[in-house]
Amino acid sequence: MRPAFSVLFLTTLIGAGQGLFLALFMCELLAPASVSSNFLAGGSAIILVLCSLGLIASFFHLGHPERAWRSAMMWRTSWLSREVIALPAFIAVDFAYGLAHWTGFGHTLLIGTVGVVMAVVLFICTAMIYAAIKVLKEWSHPLTLVNFTLLGITSGMTLAAAYAGFFAPDLTVPLSQAAFVLTVLALLMRGASLWRNARLTPASTLQSAIGIRHPRIVQKAQGAMGGSYNTREYFHGKSIKFVRGVIVVMILGVFVLPLVLVLTLPLLAFVLQYIGLLAERWYFFAEAKHPQNLYYQGNS
């Protein structure tokens, strides 16, 4: 599949936002003495910025952004529609959570609990958009759900450690340690999905695609001289060298460098991890081989 850049930004930005929310709420729940209301209100503001940027990025994916409101209609069947509802809902709860802290309104644990539920729901909706597409075997697996959630929480935790480094120094060490553990966990799970995806056998073959039982079938014409939507949307179009480079950026950026840096320089660790996550999401698209590509193997 061709990586959709707006989607790369959307999923990584809101993932970090949701992860930061979970981290902040854990801080309030487990170490209320170490966090001030302003610290949590400021964190909510960061989440608001991240998720709003993600929401804005998502509009660039659409052919008709002015009709985006329509995408909330089919929540009964479409995970995309569910995400469209869950994302603004999460942003609203986060806003309420930050406001409650800032104004001293109270009930923050209640609002925060709702926010945790919304963050988890949003993780599920986002990941299920991909995991629900049965024809893409690389995506259609519980590991997709695990990785979207775990990578979001991990980057959010690293960001929380960086943020605490400035405004709640007591929490920097435990948050950094949590980010370290989560990064190790994420490495294991993403590694598992990389291992799985490298060993998949495609469900479809050229034989089943055109219904002719012969071991040797060669495409001679695609039905279009200058390419088509089919040759643009479903192929990443980059060289093997480029893809390998992306994998290196992903492994160094998301896992190796943050593991080295998170206990000492959490802000740098977050920046590198975010860049790594963009590469990770790019490769997530690029590694998915769509069965329709069977119809587009010729050159003419």
């Binding site: 599949m1 959709a4 994916h61 659409l62 052919g63 008709h64 952004p65 009709r67 985006a68 329509r70 995408s71 909330a72 209609m73 089919m74 069947t77 479409s78 995970w79 995309l80 529609s81 469209v84 958009i129 629900a132 597409i133 049965k134 024809v135 893409l136 469900a203 479809s204 050229l206 089943s208 695609a209 055109i210 219904g211 002719i212 012969h214 040797r216 079938i217 060669v218 495409q219 001679k220 014409a221 695609q222 039905g223 279009a224 001289m225 200058g226 390419g227 088509s228 939507y229 089919n230 949307e233 479903y234 769509h290 069965p291 329709q292 590509n293 119809y295 587009y296 010729g298």
Partner: protein, 240 residues
């Protein structure tokens, strides 16, 4: 329940692309707006088509066969593209089973095209919406047309008559009979989409000749006691 569909006979298709051009002509002239064309007369022509003809070579030279393969929306009975649509723009008509896109509701997120294993939906770069074969829904019910012309444009255009159109749920329709009697098959059955469109396989034309038809078994020179021997020279009777 009606399920309209095309049945495409790969034994008859000659790869002339008449269905492609007639489809384009009809669908670019309709109320839904023109199908985009970029650089139509340049080196890299590009545009939206609802129907394409591809060509495959089967076998190893010299034992090869060229197969022309027309490809358009299969109007699946369980279409994976429909439930994923967030706006409801993509839908399957209950009345006749045609899978359609409401261009006024489509937001152009392309999610439906990811869910379709066949790659038969094309995003129109100018109209910024997803487009696809409509089975010429704007002509098959048009009572101003003579009844014989109330068929999809591709079917009317096909010179050798490789494309059949009808209701695959009606066992007596031309398409059902063709599927039943000429081994019609569906594409990528492993995805359980139950495509309504079917393809008819290539067939070898030939007939069987038995030995006793070449060497007359009732030749009195060969049956009166003597064992049948194909190496015997032909009799005058056989040569005449």
């Amino acid at each position: 329940m009606t399920q309209l569909a095309l049945v495409i006979d790969l034994n008859v298709c000659v790869g002339c692309h008449a269905c492609v051009t007639n489809c384009k002509q009809w669908n670019t002239s309709g109320a839904a707006g023109a199908l985009t064309d970029f650089n139509p007369y340049e080196a890299e022509p590009n545009g939206t088509f609802f129907n394409r003809v591809q060509t495959f070579e089967v076998g190893t030279f010299p034992n090869t066969e060229t197969v022309h393969f027309p490809k358009s929306c299969l109007h699946c009975e369980d279409p994976p593209c429909v439930p994923v649509c967030p706006t409801g723009a993509s839908y399957k008509r209950k009345s006749d089973g045609i899978v359609l896109v409401d261009y006024d509701k489509c937001i152009g997120c392309k999610y439906c095209s990811w869910a379709c294993p066949y790659g038969v939906r094309e995003f129109d770069e100018q109209r910024r919406v997803m487009t696809k074969c409509t089975l010429c829904v704007d002509r098959i019910y048009d009572e101003k047309l003579p009844e014989a012309e109330r068929k999809p444009s591709c079917v009317l255009a096909c010179p050798p008559g490789a494309r059949l159109f009808g209701d695959v749920h009606d066992p007596e329709s031309v398409v059902s009979i063709a599927i039943r009697e000429r081994a019609g098959y569906a594409l990528m059955p492993e995805h359980a989409t139950q495509p309504a469109n079917h393809y008819l396989p290539r067939r070898k034309t030939g007939f069987t000749i038995r030995d006793d038809e070449l060497y007359r078994a009732d030749n009195p020179h060969k049956i009166d006691g003597a064992p049948f021997d194909r190496d015997l020279p032909p009799t005058n009777e056989e040569l005449n």
